[in-house]
């Protein structure tokens, strides 16, 4: 059972949340249509989303300093949109918990097929994997996720 409730009520964040839910809506129907046609979304959608992630590099700093990167990753908008919490930076690894996912917020309004939601969630996370493809010094790991039924999404960013 997916639990995914936003708590931040700031007017701009609410509008941005709706914009991200809208992205989730388009993404869901594109992948669902392809899946229903028998295409392998694991193959093509991962390629497409990972390429988007790599193309997002210009938004992030050229740095090898984990704290500087984490500050940029958790800018004010992203922090509030995903209700991010920095759990800590220890032994070269930062753990960031996301307490809300707007794309999942859209998907659960459209379907109760949790297996499909888990699948398209992990494909969507290739946007971050693609971003980290562009850094030689950092690596990204996804822990538990909201779409798997956990309370938060756990993001781990480590120095290589």
């Amino acid at each position: 059972m997916i639990k995914n409730l936003p708590t931040i009520t700031d007017d701009l964040i609410v509008k941005l949340r709706k914009a991200s839910e809208d992205r989730g809506l388009w993404y869901y129907y594109l992948l669902k249509t392809a899946h229903d046609k028998g295409l392998d979304i694991e193959d093509f959608a991962r390629k497409g989303i990972r390429a988007v992630g790599r193309s997002n590099r210009y938004k992030y700093p050229d740095t090898e300093d984990l704290e500087i990167f984490v500050d940029a990753f958790m800018d004010d908008i992203s922090k509030n949109l995903f209700e991010m919490e920095l759990k800590g930076i220890e032994n070269g690894t930062a753990q960031i918990d996301f307490h809300y996912c707007p794309m999942c917020g859209a998907w659960t309004q459209i379907t109760d097929d949790q297996k499909f939601i888990e699948n398209i969630c992990d494909i969507a996370m290739d946007v971050d994997r693609g971003l980290f493809d562009t850094y030689d010094c950092f690596e990204f790991k996804l822990g538990k996720t909201i779409c798997q039924g956990h309370d938060t999404c756990e993001i781990f960013i480590s120095k290589k």
Binding site: L30, K32, L39, A51, Q109
Partner: protein, 162 residues
Amino acid sequence: MIKNEARNYNDDYEAQQLRAASVNRGKWVYGVVRAGLDAGMTWDDVRKAIRAAGAWKGYHCFPRTTSIKVFAEGFATDTLVKVNDGAVTKLTDDELVWEVNYCPLVEGWLHYTEDEAFIANLCDACMEIDRGTMDSYGWELELPKTIADGDGKCVICMKKKG
């Protein structure tokens, strides 16, 4: 040559943030569609998917009404006016005309390609979002001008049938 320039709200922080969010949506759509077409999706598949998304929006995001004027209040919000640098240029009992000077999706696509024929195809496929919404009301969409076709603005006519 595509001209996609917002003239208003460019210094408005909310507009900047919301435009960036929509540019991001454009990049995701481009990434999935481009990879999907390479893997065997057809343009008809893309249109079918986006039309379904549009119908969902019609049923869940806009007021359920038989009045185009009531629909216009829910559709052409202050937020959308800012994001698209848009305006309602005609509103009657039978027709809503929505004109926009700026499309964040086109901006997103131009990050990846200069192939204007592809962008025009993708634009028309993406307009299935509004066609799908119109389906949910039994209304229809006409698209006489688009930014992606080089017209400098999009003119989107939503009207009752016949």
